[in-house]
């Protein structure tokens, strides 16, 4: 049975520690652009933790919300790409094919979540920081878009392994970097086609909703609302 990878984000568990943000950077060779570029809006964060203030002191409240590529089933970024660099795979992932990308940046405009990032310059790593680079992940050059891939390199490796061992991927074995590091287990990843997988059960939760769901993008990431007595 084909997989359909999805994620659930429990906002009641998320503490805003941003372990996911650094984990993603470490796993996916996301470059740091430096202060000067960051100041002009060129920082790249495939995963970000949004924070929204409500109310004023002393009744101020704060909400955290991890935002990554929602891997939409009806992704606005896909039809607009003139070269199929952004397209839908059989497993429902929003592929970003770097080598096919010519940098129209149309996908980034179309994406309602602003989770797509552009390489304004060639990335650089001050040696020997480059020795940390993950050999399983591409290094994106100037002029191409990039975004969260659900750690496709891990998915691919797991599927190749499963094929070799001729055993299915057991739920919970395969985790993107963000999910693996999340201390509060606010992020859960798995196969939505497996109705018993943890992610499927959470996605059915009454607290569940989709980010900007009314846009009809049909995301594969489900957000579980934060409960509170207050």
């Amino acid at each position: 049975m084909a997989h359909r990878w999805g994620m659930a984000v429990d906002l009641d568990r998320c503490t805003g520690c941003e372990a996911c943000v650094t984990a993603c950077r470490a796993e996916n060779n996301v470059p740091t652009v430096g202060a000067a570029q960051a100041a002009t809006g060129r920082a790249i964060h495939w995963m970000r933790v949004e924070r929204y203030w409500e109310g004023e002191f002393p009744d101020a409240r704060l909400k955290f919300r991890p935002v990554l590529c929602q891997q939409c089933d009806a992704a606005p970024c896909e039809p607009v790409c003139p070269t199929y660099a952004s397209h839908h795979t059989e497993e429902g992932l929003n592929a970003q094919v770097y080598n096919r990308c010519i940098g129209t940046r149309y996908c980034a405009n179309a994406c309602p979540y602003n989770v797509r990032f552009f390489n304004f310059f060639n990335p650089i790593w001050d040696k020997p920081l480059h020795l940390q680079l993950n050999p399983d992940v591409s290094i994106r050059e100037v002029g191409v878009m990039e975004k969260c891939t659900f750690c496709v390199q891990r998915i691919s490796a797991a599927e190749i392994q499963a094929k070799a061992d001729n055993t299915p991927i057991t739920d919970g074995d395969l985790k993107p970097a963000c999910v693996q590091s999340c201390p509060a287990t606010a992020l859960v990843f798995g196969d939505l086609n497996d109705s018993e997988s943890a992610v499927s059960r959470l996605s059915r939760s009454s607290r569940g909703s989709k980010l900007l769901g009314d846009l009809g993008t049909q995301p594969k990431v489900t957000y579980l609302a934060r409960q509170s007595q207050a």
Partner: protein, 196 residues
């Protein structure tokens, strides 16, 4: 009368054009990225153009390696020298250690073997050059193991390397080549199969 006036115009305009050309070229002649940083950028415009046109220099090997002779001795590629091909994505180039496993005792008197032994002594590895490989802007993440499991023979992608004494690239691993094979074998043809 107007003809020579055109001439005057050209004589007048030419220096301007030259000047602008000069400006642009000197901008292009900026120094390549510092050696202290790692970057996917090309070192020179030339290498950029070569990659764009898929022109790659032929690998220059330190000394000939008779694949044929070794195969004839029944030394199978993925059993001794490129054994990691069956375990993972990369076939790898054997280090001088691997050579000396056998050549500690075998054919030690041959001049080439002496050179190999000498490398071993100096603790320096033989600078073999990769023959096959993808330009990294093609973002191909090739994995040997599954291909071998699928019984794809080495020669399919590496040609008659077994017959060569100095390894040469004689199969052009263009995307069409991969795609056709995947099609014929009903292997997945999704972009993400290879590009990520």
């Amino acid at each position: 009368m107007h003809t020579d006036s055109y001439g005057r115009f050209l004589r007048w305009a030419a220096p301007l054009v030259v000047a602008l050309a000069a400006v642009s070229s000197c901008r292009l002649a900026e120094e390549p990225p510092a050696a202290s940083v790692f970057t996917p950028a090309h070192r020179t415009i030339g290498s950029a153009v070569n990659d764009f046109l898929n022109i790659r220099p032929a690998p220059a090997q330190p000394f000939p390696f008779p694949h044929k002779a070794h195969l004839a001795k029944g030394i199978m590629c993925t059993e001794y020298c490129h054994e990691s091909a069956v375990k993972g994505p990369i076939a790898g180039l054997p280090s001088v250690k691997t050579c000396m496993i056998c050549h500690e005792s075998i054919a030690t008197d041959r001049p080439l073997i002496k050179t190999v032994a000498d490398y071993q002594k100096r603790g320096i590895d033989i600078p073999w050059q990769r023959v096959y490989g993808y330009a990294s802007e093609s973002h191909v993440r090739f994995n040997h193991a599954p291909h071998l499991r699928a019984k794809v023979d080495c020669v399919t992608c590496h040609g008659n390397i077994g017959q060569q004494t100095v390894a040469e690239r004689n199969v052009d691993l263009k995307m069409g080549f991969c795609v056709n094979c995947h099609k014929s074998k009903q292997a997945p043809n999704e972009c993400l199969t290879c590009h990520f």
